[in-house]
Amino acid sequence: MTAPFALANPRNAAVAALLVMLALLPLYTALTGNTFVMTLFTRVLILAIAAGSLNLIMGYGGMVSFGHAVYLGLGGYAIGILAKEGINAGLLQWPVAIAVSALFALVVGALSLRTRGVYFIMITLAFAQMVYYVAIGLERYGGDDGLTIRSRSTFGMVDLNNKTLFYYLCFAILIANIYLIARLVNSRFGLVIQGVRSNERRMRAIGFAVFRYKLVCFVIAGALCGLAGALLANHTNFISPAMMFWTRSGDLMVMVVLGGLATPFGPLIGTVTFLLLEEALSRVTEYPGLFLGPALLLVAIYLHGGIEGLLARRAR
């Protein structure tokens, strides 16, 4: 038994250190003028939100969705398309981004949750790929080349062009996201979802409408990831079909598994590790995939429970 916030526990110490580092990062940028680090970490924060939402369905719910990047794309395209049509108000743009993602998750979930196992993996993948091709076909919104967003979302006095402010906004949303998911999975609803992961037949026998629980969970995850997509479009000022190509979904899965499935901070740890590793490798070698690929294979074969699991195991 360990107290929930015992810092002596290496896992909690690592998470606390990571959070403090993330909170103080803009200070470092202000002191050194190194804006590259902040840009990189804004991306980390946004993708950590996306990875967290994937963790909700994949880690806690056992629904291995291989098309999660599609919500990044849907959220991003909602922002981009509205901006192109002259609507910049964030209070309109962001809810639309979330609603579109939730709606798509509802349709895909209703169809794909009828199946399980490898069917589910391939179907979520195929539907995501369908949206990718639709985006390529959208000539007015840049087609294959993508679309530059002229102006970020506006929120009255708040100016998202301020990089520090935008960083802290992403940070706050990430923390809220982690808190929300942690509360959700420990609620009655979340316990049902986790019960379904361990034994769906038994949950159904007890009398739960399993399909409905899973569908709601799937929609929540889609909506949260749509919000991440809205942030990503505002961060890069650019949207393109490439942001939802299926290998992007693969990256998100890697982040979740690398960090630790079904753990509150696993997705954040995994995202930081994966993106920093990618960045570091691309500086040392011209062929990062030559090392990254086998590393993923080794993670799949040997690293059960991800980095978070590794830290937690040392605590015992």
Binding site: I136, G250, Y287, G293
Partner: protein
């Protein structure tokens, strides 16, 4: 009408290509219960090998045969080194591990062959067009693809249904433990099946190489189509893969060719021009969704799954 026949043949040709990929995927899944994302990489390797060997030997046929052997060897080596530890693990581990392999192969190809694509030129007798019906000409090479793939499909059928190895493959698909308990070398069987799947993917790649440019990532888009095919056909069923591949090939090709004109008849030209590309690329996914609603297990569900 002539255009229609041409598009019909193009659709069949795409379907045959998809069948080669889907058959390997579905065999590997049916027998080893393995989700293999690196299957598209073997398709890519087949194309690169063919382009290289054809340039070296100055003969398309010789190059193709060597490339086929090379992808088989690659598949066997890959299985022994990287795939074996993944058997018996959950599907998420398979996805993660083979996704890593996919990144690795893309980068390896870039290292060995460089970032620019390659082209594979055909012998001159295959470049001509053949008069298949009075007044209908069709490229000879595309007919070669259809014929060669049909031959491979027939060989595969004979292999699986009429030989001892095929009997073991079918037995392995329905009850792995029992086959192992009866003294069959299941490790060797797995390696052979993976090699066979690799060779089929490589064959698809090398046949397609003269039509497309050979480039990095060429296997990634086609892999998703192959997934759609095996979902529609029913995972683990080669017959299902064959039927579904032809359906998907036809719908995709015909949709792309005729949807713009159909829409133009119904809507304004402008609306048709914007809608058509999106709608035609969605058509096969719509089909997949419809199949899922009515037959979640696919058209030809494998018996014991």
């Amino acid at each position: 009408m002539l255009y229609f026949i041409e598009q019909l043949l193009n659709g069949v040709q795409l379907g045959m290509l998809l069948f080669l990929l889907a058959a390997g995927l579905t065999l590997i899944f049916g027998i080893m219960d393995l989700v293999n994302l690196a299957h598209g990489s073997l398709y890519m390797l087949g194309a690169y090998f063919a382009a290289t060997f054809a340039a070296l030997t100055d003969s398309f046929v010789l190059g193709a045969l060597l490339a086929l052997a090379a992808t088989f060897v690659c598949g066997v080596v890959l299985e022994v080194i990287a795939i074996r530890p993944l058997y018996g693990r959950n599907h998420l581990d398979h996805v993660l591990g083979t996704f890593g392999l996919l990144l690795f192969f893309n980068e390896l190809v870039r290292l060995v062959w460089g970032p620019a694509g390659m082209t594979l030129s055909l012998p001159s007798q295959m470049l001509t067009a053949v008069e298949i019906l009075p007044g209908v000409y069709y490229p000879a090479y595309r007919l070669v693809i259809i014929a060669a793939t049909l031959a491979v499909a027939a060989l595969l059928y004979i292999l699986v249904m009429r030989t001892r190895l095929g009997m073991l493959i079918r037995a392995g698909a329905s009850n792995r433990e029992m086959v192992g308990a009866l003294g069959v070398n299941i490790k060797l069987l797995y390696t052979l099946v993976f090699g066979l799947g690799a060779a089929l993917a490589g064959f698809a790649g090398l046949m397609q190489a003269p039509i497309l440019t050979v480039q990095i990532g060429m296997g990634e888009n086609i892999l998703i189509l192959a997934f759609v095919v095996i979902i529609i056909g029913g995972i683990g069923s080669i017959r299902g893969a064959f039927v579904a591949a032809i359906i998907v090939g036809l719908i995709d090709t015909i949709g792309r060719a005729f949807l713009p004109d159909l829409l133009r008849a119904a809507l304004s030209t402008n609306a048709a021009l914007t809608l058509a590309p999106s709608l035609s690329s969605m058509s096969i996914y719509m089909l997949m969704a419809a199949i899922l609603v009515f037959r979640p297990e696919g058209l030809f569900p494998a018996a014991n799954k």
